[in-house]
Symmetry: C2
Subunit: 295 residues, 2 copies
């Protein structure tokens, strides 16, 4: 196995263990906890936590960013649960498993999502209170996360996605949606880890460029996989975006041009890390992995 | 008009103005902002912000707690929007107006709720970053709020409310639900305002007792009004809880005993404030107001 794949597995394993502890600390046993845990544990590569911890590791001990990584994964999971609801994308399959509302009903899926968002902030607040470091570091990391998940970030992307569903395809709107809906939280994962470990302004700028580019690459590859991917590998229905007449890179630019754009943006992301030398080898390898993934 | 009613109006007016500014700062124009603003502006007595600011005012300048008060109202509003959704209580009328999903559709109502919860934390984070005071004061106030709105607080109450709907009435479960679903955020409003202004441990204990009691009184009176209230004054359908076979104080204890319990708890709340002398006149009058309200 390549070094980055091994490192991703190691981080995912630490994150999974920590998420279990967090859930036990925060929730009373019951349906609500079960519903939250069901989606939180439904696998996934833990890409955002990996990005957060690799990024933090460039400026110190990456373990210090573990709770920020977990909070980001909780927010990501809440967004998937709400996005899958019948009123939204009405998805019944996610990561090869029935979606949350299929198992727990719509009401508990709604509350499980609300609960995960709220818990994410509680995790970060506990970190701020218990941490020896300057509270302001944690507050800054929290702001990066909250701003990315908020109404100028992820939620704005979801709103625009809804609003423009079925309408004529337009590159500007496509970028608006994808920058917010997916890329914002990926960028935030990179930047929050670094901010917590006190990266300076210039370093943050470089990581912003990296995060922005890989965030878009992630979505472009997602769009390509939705057109051409292998349902059994992806663990979700393919061709759904096309059926729903969603705006995708594949529809706007075609598959070949989408691949080219993804390759260019990956190169831009890697170039932005030049200043960090070999310290950034992990993030560079991850960018390449995100381009080449088939699931 | 009595002094407390005038003070409530003054605070509500300041809160409403500040909420407008916050919404303009945080949201881009569009359907999402419209949906969030619709429910945020749908009137209401701003009881939680009033509690927060009256409580803060006992320890300093209450204006310092304005953003905490606004954040609490945003969380309260998000909970109403999600609670009214068809998958939950399926309410079409709230404060005399069509509920959010009736006007904006379920998907936007869902996102508007998510957005308000996220924005509430952003407001508090901005306060932490910009405030001259020790960040820890704001972090403590945030923790009180986040814990009350979270999966051991409000969301746990909503989950239990769902879970036990239609089941046999039991006083223990009734208290579990109401302490979490409604009383937790009311108590948090009282305590967060005081914590922000650095109330000491004994003062916080007294305010906890006050908050817990008036939180339950609020819910008991709500239950009584749902049985006996005037639909035109309440601006919402009455008898709904009965129809849905919800557990209410009125059902468990009967109307007369419920009134007696509410009176006793109001007295307990007011007694808990004895140590503060006349500084607590506002909170005392508010407790009486909450007991006597007919809407």
């Amino acid at each position: 196995m390549s070094e980055i794949k091994q490192d991703m597995r190691d981080i995912a394993s630490v994150v999974n263990q920590r998420l279990d502890v967090i859930m036990d600390e925060m929730c009373e046993p019951g349906i609500l906890k079960d519903a939250m845990s069901y989606s939180l544990k439904a696998g996934g590569k833990r890409l955002r936590p990996v990005l957060c911890m690799l990024s933090a590791g460039m400026f110190g001990n990456r373990a210090q960013a573990l709770d920020v990584a977990c909070a980001i994964e909780m927010i990501h999971t809440y967004s998937l649960i709400h996005d899958d609801l019948p009123a939204m994308d009405n998805d019944v399959l996610r990561r090869g498993k029935p979606t949350n509302h299929v198992v727990f009903g719509e009401a508990f899926a709604l509350l499980a999502g609300d609960g995960l968002l709220n818990c994410a902030f509680e995790v970060l607040l506990k970190l701020a209170q218990n941490s020896d470091r300057d509270k302001l570091d944690v507050v800054r990391a929290m702001q990066i996360v909250a701003s990315a998940s908020g109404v100028k970030g992820m939620i704005a992307g979801q709103a625009a996605d809804l609003q423009f569903e079925g309408e004529d395809v337009d590159a500007q709107v496509l970028h608006y949606i994808h920058e917010r809906k997916t890329a914002a939280m990926i960028k935030a994962a990179v930047c929050a880890g670094a901010a917590l470990l006190r990266a300076d302004e210039d370093e943050m700028k470089a990581l912003n460029v990296y995060g922005e580019n890989i965030g878009l690459v992630f979505q472009i590859v997602d769009d390509i996989l939705d057109e051409e991917g292998d349902e059994s590998k992806l663990g979700k229905s393919v061709g759904k975006d096309k059926d729903a007449e969603k705006m995708t890179f594949a529809r706007v630019y075609g598959i070949d041009a989408s691949r080219r754009i993804a390759k260019e943006k990956t190169d831009e992301a890697i170039t932005a890390l030049a200043r960090f030398g070999t310290r950034a080898d992990g993030l560079k390898a991850l960018a390449q992995f995100m381009l080449d993934r088939d699931r």
